[in-house]
Symmetry: C2
DNA sequence: ATAAAAGTTTAGATTAATCTAAAAAAAGAA
DNA sequence: TTCTTTTTTTAGATTAATCTAAACTTTTAT
C-alpha cells in the first residue's frame, strides 16, 4: 500500500518518462512536483527499496513493472473520476483536474470497478486521454496534430494536449471537444493559422500554437 | 484547511459528544480513533489553538461553533457519499462505510453540491442517518426503538443503530431497510423477542437485542 | 481522610515528508 | 584536458503525527 505522496511520485515519473519509456532525472521530478531535488532523492531511494523503480545514483530513475502497474492504476482512477465529474455531475472540463488529483488516491478496487461500469466502461476521459483498463492496458489510437491536417479534409478531434483552464475554456466556447467533427477550410501560409468548420457550420480561426495542441484522428 | 487527521478528530468528537452536546474525555477519543491518550492530548491542544474546541486540562473537550460546523460538513460528505455508493453504484449497505471514510475528506465545495443535486438532495443516507444540509442543518424526525413498538401496530423503519457488516447483512437478508413498512405481529414476554411482518407478508422473528437497534417512526 | 485506582498529561523518541546549505559528481566549455 | 557550470547527493534540521514510560491529577473505595 503506497502513501498519498508515494503515489504522486510514481504517477509523476510515469508521465515524465512517457509511460515508462525513458529515464527521469531528479530535477525533472522536483520541478513537476514543485518540491526540491534533495527531497526527491530521499523519496526515490525509498521507492527503489520498494522495487517500484530502478535508481542509479546521478543518472535518474526508471519505473519497474510493479511501478508501472501502480502508475497505470492511478491514471485509470484519475481519468475515470474526471469522466464521472463531467458526464454525471455536470462539471466543465476545465474544473475536474484538481478534484481528480484527490479522488485518484481513494483506495477501493470495488469502487473503481463499479464506477467504471456505471460510466459504461469509457475508453477516454473528457480531454481525450485514454483510460487504462482494469489490467493496465492502454488503447492507442492513430492520431496527429491538427496543425498537420490537410486543407479541405474532415477529421474528428481526439485529444487536447494542454490542460490549462484558459485553453480548455477557449475551446469550450467554440464547441471544440474530443468527438467533434471538423473540416479544415483554409490554411494561412504566412502564420500557419487555420480556419476550421464545425458540424453546426460555424467557422473558427485557430492560431498555429492552438492547432498544435489539438490532436485529431481520421474521419473513418 | 484541516488535515485529514484533524478532520477525523473533529468528527469523532462530534459523534462522541452527541452532536456537540456533551464534553468528551481524552480516553473516549483515543478509544474511538484507536490511538493512545497521549496522542489525543497533543492533538486536542492543537485543535484548541485553532479554536475548533474548548479544552480544559483533565476535564475533556467540547466543540466550538466553528468545530461543530466543520464536523457537520464532514458528516454531510460522508453520508452523501454513502448514498451515492448505494443508490448509483450499487454497493450493498454494509460495504460503504470504509470507502466513505476516505471520500469524506475530499476538498471541493463544488463537488459536494453537485453530488447532492445529482442524488436529488437526499435527507437520509442508506442507514437512515440524517444528512446535514449545506448550512449544517440536521432534520430531526420523531423516531423510537422498535423494541418499544406496540403489538399489532404498523411502523416504518427509519434508522439502524448498528453499522457492523454482519448486522447489516442480517437485516438485508430479511429486507429490513429504512423506508420499509412493518407490522408487529407478536411480542414474546419471556425474552422480549418479536415477530414482525413485512409488506410482502413475510414474517421475521427479531431478538430484543436486534429490535433495540432498529429505529422506527409512525406509519403517518 | 487517606490510599488505591483510573484517567490525563508531560517528557522523550520515532517515522514520514519536507527544507537549506554544503559537498560531490557529471556535463559542458574553453 | 582542465576548468566552470549544472545537477545530484549528503548532512543536519523541522513539522506533523504517533508511540512508551513516567509523572501528575482526579475519582473512587476503604
Ligand atoms: Mn487531469
Ligand atoms: Mn484528463
Ligand atoms: Mn458510515
Ligand atoms: Mn451511514
Amino acid at each position: 500500500m503506497l502513501s498519498f505522496t508515494e503515489e504522486n511520485y510514481i504517477k509523476a515519473i510515469y508521465h515524465l518518462s512517457d509511460a515508462g519509456q525513458l529515464a527521469v532525472s531528479t530535477n525533472d521530478i522536483a520541478l513537476h512536483l514543485q518540491t526540491k531535488a534533495a527531497t526527491v532523492t530521499d523519496m526515490i531511494k525509498k521507492l527503489a527499496n520498494k522495487d517500484l523503480l530502478a535508481y542509479e545514483k546521478y543518472y535518474g530513475v526508471s519505473l519497474s513493472k510493479k511501478g508501472k502497474n501502480n502508475a497505470l492504476s492511478i491514471v485509470r482512477k484519475h481519468r475515470l473520476w474526471e469522466t464521472f465529474l463531467v458526464e454525471k455531475l455536470g462539471f466543465q472540463w476545465d474544473e475536474v483536474h484538481e478534484v481528480a488529483e484527490q479522488l485518484e488516491h481513494i483506495q477501493s478496487n470495488l469502487l473503481i470497478e463499479k464506477l467504471d461500469a456505471f460510466l459504461g466502461h469509457p475508453e477516454t476521459d473528457p480531454h481525450g486521454h485514454p483510460i487504462p483498463d482494469k489490467n493496465g492496458k492502454v488503447k492507442q489510437i492513430k492520431q496527429f496534430s491538427l496543425s498537420q491536417g490537410k486543407n479541405g479534409h474532415k477529421y474528428i478531434v481526439s485529444e487536447v494536449k494542454d490542460g490549462s483552464a484558459t485553453f480548455l475554456q477557449y475551446l469550450a466556447k467554440h464547441d471544440l471537444y474530443p468527438g467533434v467533427t471538423i473540416q479544415i477550410k483554409e490554411i494561412l501560409p504566412f502564420d500557419g493559422s487555420m480556419v476550421v468548420q464545425l458540424q453546426n457550420k460555424q467557422k473558427v480561426t485557430l492560431s498555429k500554437a492552438t492547432s498544435e495542441k489539438i490532436l485529431i484522428k481520421s474521419n473513418e
